[in-house]
Assembly symmetry: C2
Homo-oligomer: 264 residues x 2
């Protein structure tokens, strides 16, 4: 499983301030720190409070790229901002995200084809997040079909089954695991899967153990990527361990270190 480092996000005060003051330093520090901790991608999100999201995204992408060479995951519901970011990306990026809603899929998959980008597709439609695995998988199939129709390789699509906080949406847990498994049966090659990991523990007291236990369980169900805290050392060690137990990385005594430094 690949970690998409979640920290360059305007929801965090230091990043919001950096965007406001056009100060690249905090952004670049987090870029380096997450890369060294084991992130394979860096999520880039201007946050909710920015007035001009287009120029903020462009700036964030540019300053991040000065500090790190790992691929970026442009995270916004404002597709103009994502497009502005893609235009300045030096390497192919990931778009985070598109729901299974026709006009949004049209906009995002058209961009993805143009910029050779990967896409995170959300298992939700006009009516929000479904309760059961079957409905999530049906929406995933719509994403797969659209992705294919726009000429994008299916394994450039990451389906997010959408985890809800376990203190309010506990019944969704087993549905998310089942969705992850079934997505791998949708096509050959199958789409990849991604998840916003920290959602599962929103509002709980023991966030870290919930995050890392959920990560291990999702990996057992075939999860390929997660937007997560790359600087949570126990989480990264758990992911490295789960990869070894899935026989995805070769065991050696220092497998956790190998996982963390594979991009460097």
């Amino acid at each position: 499983m690949i970690i998409i480092g979640e920290r360059i996000n305007g929801m965090f005060r230091d990043i919001a301030k950096a965007i406001r003051e056009k100060d690249p330093k905090p952004v670049q520090e987090w870029a380096r720190k997450q890369e060294e901790a084991g992130a394979g991608y860096l999520d880039i999100n201007v946050g909710p409070a920015v007035s001009d999201r287009v120029s903020a995204m462009k700036w964030l992408v540019e300053v991040t790229q000065e500090a790190s060479k790992i691929p970026l995951c442009l995270d916004s519901t404002d597709y103009d901002a994502i497009e502005a970011g893609l235009e300045v990306c030096k390497e192919p990026a990931m778009i985070n995200s598109v729901p299974a809603i026709p006009d949004k899929m049209d906009r995002v998959f058209t961009m993805a084809a143009k910029f050779n980008a990967e896409v995170i597709g959300l298992a939700m439609g006009e009516e929000g997040i479904p309760k059961d695995a079957e409905s999530r998988v049906a929406l995933a199939m719509e994403l797969v079909a659209n992705c294919d129709a726009y000429g994008i390789p299916i394994d450039s699509l990451y389906i997010d089954p959408l985890a809800l906080p376990c203190n309010v949406g506990q019944a969704h847990g087993p549905e998310v695991f089942e969705t992850l498994r079934q997505i791998k049966l949708l096509s050959d090659p199958p789409p990849k899967t991604a998840i916003g990991l920290s959602n599962i523990s929103q509002g709980t007291k023991e966030r870290e153990i919930i995050n890392r236990t959920f990560a291990a369980m999702c990996i057992a169900c075939g999860l390929d990527a997660a937007v997560a805290d790359a600087c949570d050392e126990e989480l990264v060690a758990t992911i490295a361990t789960a990869r070894v137990l899935m026989n995805l990385d070769i065991f050696c005594d220092s497998y956790a270190e190998v996982y963390r430094t594979r991009n460097l």
Copy 2:
């Protein structure tokens, strides 16, 4: 998932000494400690070095029962020792274990029917542990069919898919996960599943993180019980977390504490 506390085992020096000297104290201390830590069963194993396994098992069962009321899991390849233990058990116990080999199944399922005992059945036959999930599931089916033939309820049977140490048998990992899933499709009600958790990390440096990550992954695949270290607090917290994420226990902020104290 239920923890079968692994500590009353003659492989540990203090227990071997206690058996030799007929000193109930170390045994009873471990019985209480494991029960308080969250064990649902206590594994009872006289160990390899005992000359008279029958009388050692009988003694271990008797002194353990003086200290704890949770059910026992009698663990031996010597079925005379298991039978002697069953005769003095005050409550129905679990037999650990029987492979899918006809004469051994006959002996063990006959005992289980007589003493109303649960049984751990190993997914291995005359030729040892199979490499793939399909062969493990075929052996599981033999165990299910035999269990049924002896009139034992199928959900009194726990199938162990047999995990090998990840540093030597790494390719078995995904096969174990797949076996756990498929076992749940064998019958209705399905058999339960159990695993010797600590096996996975034998000979590795980072045993605890491997054990608890493997536990979380197995629970995502439907694992019901594990012979494990109930006094590993991080492991117990991980199991409690995984149960909440599987929607098996209701979330509350103190869910880990609730899990640990549910027997008390």
